[in-house]
Symmetry: C2
Subunit: 154 residues, 2 copies
Amino acid sequence: MPSDGAPPLERFRRYLGDQELPATPQRLAVAEAVCQAAGHVSVEDVAERVRERGVAVGTATIYRTLDLLVRSGLVRAYDFGEGFRRFALAERGGPWGRYVCTSCGRTDEFSNDRLERVIGLLAEEVAFRPHHHRLEVYGLCRACQQEHPLTHAR
Amino acid sequence: MPSDGAPPLERFRRYLGDQELPATPQRLAVAEAVCQAAGHVSVEDVAERVRERGVAVGTATIYRTLDLLVRSGLVRAYDFGEGFRRFALAERGGPWGRYVCTSCGRTDEFSNDRLERVIGLLAEEVAFRPHHHRLEVYGLCRACQQEHPLTHAR
DNA sequence: ATGGGTGCAAATCCTTTGCACTCGG
DNA sequence: CCGAGTGCAAAGGATTTGCACCCAT
């Protein structure tokens, strides 16, 4: 149910309406900040974006609104092991896989239909109904395969 | 290079030797606690296990030793979004996938050769050399598909 | 004696919570 | 006037760090 044809912000408005929650300027500003961001934003990123648009929103409200966005299914929370969470629009068809270089830390996103299909089939075998998934592949990126023979990162 | 035929503790000893680091009783106790644990242990779990064996180890040392274990490649750190990290032996052939029920929170581990092969092939296409990977599939477990039409969890 | 490892406690950092204030109805 | 949403600051938890102490070399 997280996705249909309407623009993200409109969907959020609708969600708020359904839940009998007021669509305050702060909530909309936070939602807009996350929706217009390219990748996975941190709470700090959101605060910065919101501030740039001239809207003052307290940290607590940002966290509370992100929670709403996640509950609404519009946004998804990620934990990349950085010690804090990131948030991103839960676009249907968006990338759900990442290559993480354990040497330089650089990451690259991807997604693949065949892989997705295999995952779905496997889930079906154990009667699990998948909603979405996330794959992290750790290893060495092209550049680091030649340099550093071995290094690690937090 | 994380895996060969030797028992885990022995490999850790070897790693410490290679790095010119002393194999102190605390380090070995922590390593043993993680190696003998069945699943993914938290720092608190480790502290408890170590204490049960009558060895006194400070929290800081547990964290420092876990860091060493991760660097050695023997142990892997996981972040299941619980707000703290878990650690587990990086066994070759161990499960690397998880079904996470977004309704009841229950998880189930798995791994699959075919899937692994597809992942390897995809990585090869972009010249990424995978070392290990982790797949998280979110959705509804068999039980929750019937009850709660929709619920969410942190 | 010397360098490193440890343990304790203080310090950090992200996130949540308590509470008084404000605004719209 | 009332209830909900906010912002601030304090609280909470996990993890890291500073520093004195202790041990093995």
